[in-house]
Assembly symmetry: C2
Homo-oligomer: 493 residues x 2
Amino acid sequence: MQQKIQIYNTLTRKKEEFIPIIPKQLGLYVCGPTVYGDAHLGHARPAITFDLVFRYFKHLGYKVRYVRNITDVGHLSDEIAGEGEDKILKKAKIEQLEPMEVVHQYTESYHESMRTLNVLSPSIEPRATGHIIEQLQMIKEIVDKGYGYEANGNVYFDVLKYNQDYDYGKLSGRKVEDLFENTRQLEGQSEKKNSYDFALWKKASPEHIMRWPSEFSDGFPGWHMECSAMSMKYLGKKFDIHGGGMDLVFPHHEAEIAQSVAANGHDAAQYWMHNNMITIGGQKMGKSLGNFITLDEFFTGSHELLEKAYSPMTIRFFILQAQYRGTVDFSNEALQAAEKGYQRLMKGYETLLKLTATKEDTIEIDVAGLKQKCYDALNDDFNSPILIANLFDAVKTINSIAAGNISANENTLAALKELFDIFIFHILGFKPETELAKGADDKTASLIDLMCNMRIQAKENKDWGTADKIRNELTKLGVTIKDSKDGFEWEIN
Amino acid sequence: MQQKIQIYNTLTRKKEEFIPIIPKQLGLYVCGPTVYGDAHLGHARPAITFDLVFRYFKHLGYKVRYVRNITDVGHLSDEIAGEGEDKILKKAKIEQLEPMEVVHQYTESYHESMRTLNVLSPSIEPRATGHIIEQLQMIKEIVDKGYGYEANGNVYFDVLKYNQDYDYGKLSGRKVEDLFENTRQLEGQSEKKNSYDFALWKKASPEHIMRWPSEFSDGFPGWHMECSAMSMKYLGKKFDIHGGGMDLVFPHHEAEIAQSVAANGHDAAQYWMHNNMITIGGQKMGKSLGNFITLDEFFTGSHELLEKAYSPMTIRFFILQAQYRGTVDFSNEALQAAEKGYQRLMKGYETLLKLTATKEDTIEIDVAGLKQKCYDALNDDFNSPILIANLFDAVKTINSIAAGNISANENTLAALKELFDIFIFHILGFKPETELAKGADDKTASLIDLMCNMRIQAKENKDWGTADKIRNELTKLGVTIKDSKDGFEWEIN
């Protein structure tokens, strides 16, 4: 069935129906990480948000080209003015490595974290350093059209000139007049026509390692250039959706739009999607602010703010249980609620698999209606919390069947299973993960369950020798069994 | 202790003592894959060979910068003449993808295979498309020095001119005079001064997608350029070791040397190391020859030439049980022998962990001497089969202790454990993998062993109900138990 998707477009500040440029094809560009540290919770949010978008469009049969870049040069620590020290070079100095060693190490670490979170790999993952020529071509285009100027080997974007012909600030809602007051005076800024002009190309100081020759100077691109150049290279001058975190709206995406319009005469992206931030104590969680908790720290529980470890799927659920445009505030309570929610969903699925069909449904179970509600939630700007709420309704039905209050026939059970397979695994991207069995795969968990059940049976038969043997052998393997009122719990150390 | 390493240098055709340019530092460049298909056994050999080199130098305390490239452009299907169709573009056409989607897909697949084989990630993994500027800079340098010439937007290396000043063919032992006869006349070749001149830069035909602007033409680099340019960028104009497969000696590495010497006036690499080929029916296994078996096919057994699946560590053992300069011929018998060898080594380790120390050694067990023999094997041009033979001697000793024929004190056992930890895990890079438990991790395997043992006990107690229950429950989990004369065997489906 044809699904009509509404997307909140930051550019127009309203939800709009998504109409692809080419029917059943999607060009999607999302700003990826600057690779100078381990991925933290703040990185997980855009990755998971746009993973949902990617998965949903693929599910609908779109041919999707999803481009997510790796920023490995030119991202300066003072982002507003485009001045300051390159983050990767700074890290390389600290660790006494060649910058590309830093890039390689943290790109690998990012990929590893994404795999763990079950985030699919994009179609293309271009790197800024790998597209210097394309960036220089675009800079020349901008200069040739009169919207960029050179000063001492640096090239700046002429915001005022651009604003006379187009609309600088249309994405972020800022006005050029107001920018004057907000940009600080920084060293070396006097060569700019206006303090808010941003760098397209920077001349490298003699000690700067990452540098390339150009007609302007031996230097490196400004941070905003890469996304304009690389999205154009791989998705064309006009493509469907550009995504990223809300913190990138200004200056990064505003500058991207200005660059693309200056070079090509028109906008590149039709829809701009922005995920909101993860906050911690009300402040954005970010590497540059130093208040981040890495994903590995979540998975192992090794951070002073964490009461315990949280599994990758708990983190995924934590992020998807909020609509992507709302803030998500970090707290142990919220994470533990997410953990319970995820477990409830998975338990519902496990229960479903064990249900026995009856000949007839005893009450009407409208799985088709529920399925459409799930689609409706996604079609309404990817509203994952509503989708999850619908799935919880399905869990309630399943539990009623399991409790014998109602019963369901074979078709209904099959439809429920299909519903879960589509939405839980395929689109929301969860994967089974027995919560108590941290670090154990499915088979291991099932085997331990089996052993524990045999031990209970042995105890019922008063075969204490066997019961003790099982406990002891499992202990040797690092599995601790605890008796509980429901039967047993176990943990792998 | 200081280890003196002898390396067979293809350039001098003899073993030479390795002397690093900077003490205790190693710059290592190895030719990586052309990413247009899934990794096959032929890719595993250089990866594992140089993984051993990387691991050994790191073990010795060297600061190693290991650069292994990804070839994602310009590798043409007729390698000798540098003509033909770009392999990646051809694949992109077949799969109807943008070339960089092909590159991304197979780079990911390569990385996945390497992780499975426990091959460490290099320090830097540069891509050819990401270094067009660096390649163009080097081409200009070569042209400026008179060793390259332009013809219709193409740039060629002037082999004859170069050979007048330097020695073309010194790596491969070929003589320029002989090349005349061996190079075929191909279309478009008439613009070359000599048929064996190779392309540094190719003008792109109108339909060619992968192209970059340059002072010569809109085009793309010749295949040989990337390694010269990228090794220079990340390791300097002079570095320690350049490695790759023996099939790359000519023309790829010969051309690399010529390019570096033409541009810089001297050789780049001090030592050239080449691993020999994997053959199948006497012929090199290769993508271009179409006679390859992918690594995934080995791991799953899904290829008509395979009698069964072979685990990643069996493949690793299969490769390391030969010295890297000897050929390795594919056969099921050889793989099954490798499987047994690997299992013997791992069983030896497991046995060692269970040994109980006595107060005294009953015979002299010279672990220190054995350890030095292990180092000696590696120092003799990374002779891994001799190293493995020494470790098998240790296994024999362990088995004698386990059988009660001899006994060992605590220090001896600790020294044996250290020996295994260093050489088996750290340097040879094996990881535990219960052979029969394909796809199962250690814990799963131990749990299944435990269940099987309980079943045997149940049968001894004539408790047929329990014995059957265990078999049935395991069957449900996809585990098949087979009774054997020694007790049991099991397999995960």
